[in-house]
Amino acid sequence: MEQLRTTPLCGRHEALNALMAPFGGWNMPIQYEGIIAEHRWCREQAALFDICHMGEFLYQGDFDSGGLEDLFTFSVKSIPVGRSRYGFLLNEQGGIIDDLIVFRLAETEAMIVVNAATADNDFNVIRSRLTGGQFSNISDDTGKLDIQGPLSRAVLTAALGEGFAALPYFRFMSMDILGSEAIVSRTGYTGELGYEIFLPAAKVGELWDLLLSDGRVKPAGLGARDVLRLEVGYSLYGSDIDETTTPLEAGLEGFVDFGKEFVGKGALLRQQEQGLMRRKVAFEVDGRRSPRHHYEIGFSGETVGSVTSGVFSPMLGGGIGLGFVRPDVAVIGTPLTIFHERVSMKATVCELPFYRGGSLRS
């Protein structure tokens, strides 16, 4: 097996007695004091996440002639400088190679932030499709901390000053942090008010210590992050979406701009014309049981699909999940059965997000 990679904060996690486990090729903290306690802290206070495992690429050059404009399911050149946009890198069949965010750093400069497990492949695919410009993988030198929760703005203001405080959702700015140039972005993966901070990997430990010295902040692991993201219905690459699923099947067509060219567009148009074979559903379980990845979904005695993500939602007090089903079943209010071996639970198709009380837009 390939050696697990570690972030600059590995020693700190171990000192905090975190439970560590492999994630996307990295040895990452799953939990510190406990998943539910960390989840609650993020919903009520401010939680700090080590996200150094994610990948960052830098593109410099003309977006049109270099081919960047045609790479993703959204237009890069129409992103104003200082804003970011979410979307997909697709294969020829319309399958999702990765979901990612592009940050428009300057007129001819963009940062692309991708998932950890897919970073190396993404880099190769993007490089092979580019026709010009400078393209580099800056992941090793780039650290990333996410601070998320209703108090995150107050905490960051105390630590870094007020310069970033007026940032609206999906906007970012460059600022000096601990003597280095950093990017503070009003984005996240929790449904709460929050920021993603990109800074040199060598400075991550110092910023981690500074933020944790505020009593309103506690570290949170990938376990809590998974519960938080599922409660607001965000897809997890590798579980809910992958190269065999298209944005249309996954209910993510809002992040696809059919007014531009991109690899996979033809396949998506064909799929749109022919109709979908399956569709994403969200469902709430009647009771505290957790649906889990690969559990089957039944309707009226037939197996109609399978679960891609599921968890006990502390905010709803019951099980929630995402899955793919036959399209005729993907209708709000449809009663489902989620089953696996001895386990069986009743569920109902519902709208997303599951949890609507977050501080995201505050």
Binding site: I36, A37, G223, R289, S290, R342
Partner: protein
């Protein structure tokens, strides 16, 4: 009252032909936050090491096996609404069921606390 353990990390406390059953502190810690406990049906007859119920945490789901054969005569209904009791008090308030013991000689195939502690070191 003597306590015994299984290799599947259940505990059993025996008193006058009845035993209380739960999961060990070690197992509760490994599971993390317990979110659901499936209790057995009252009156159910179980055989030693057969599935008695199940337990779910944020991280995992696992079956609970009967440490001894017998009839389920009481279940801990408090766990329906507050499964976190298992994390707070796995080997006491977090008990799951009482079983009327069919055959006390089955205790021979269980471990004492000392043997269980030794067993944990081998994992």
């Amino acid at each position: 009252m003597s306590i015994y353990f299984t290799k599947e990390h259940e505990w059993v406390k025996v008193k006058e032909g009845i035993c209380a059953v739960g999961i060990s502190e070690h197992a509760a810690h490994e599971l993390g936050d317990v979110t659901f406990v499936e209790l057995p049906q009252l009156g159910k007859q179980v055989k030693q090491f057969e599935v008695l119920g199940s337990i779910e945490s944020v991280k995992a789901a696992s079956d609970i096996y009967a440490p001894l054969s017998g009839k389920v005569v009481k279940v801990n209904e408090a766990l329906n609404d507050a499964p976190e009791i298992v994390n707070e008090s796995a080997e006491d308030a977090g008990w799951m069921a009482w079983i009327e013991i069919a055959d006390e000689s089955e205790l021979k195939s269980l471990m004492t606390r000392e043997q269980y502690d030794e067993f944990l070191k081998t994992l």
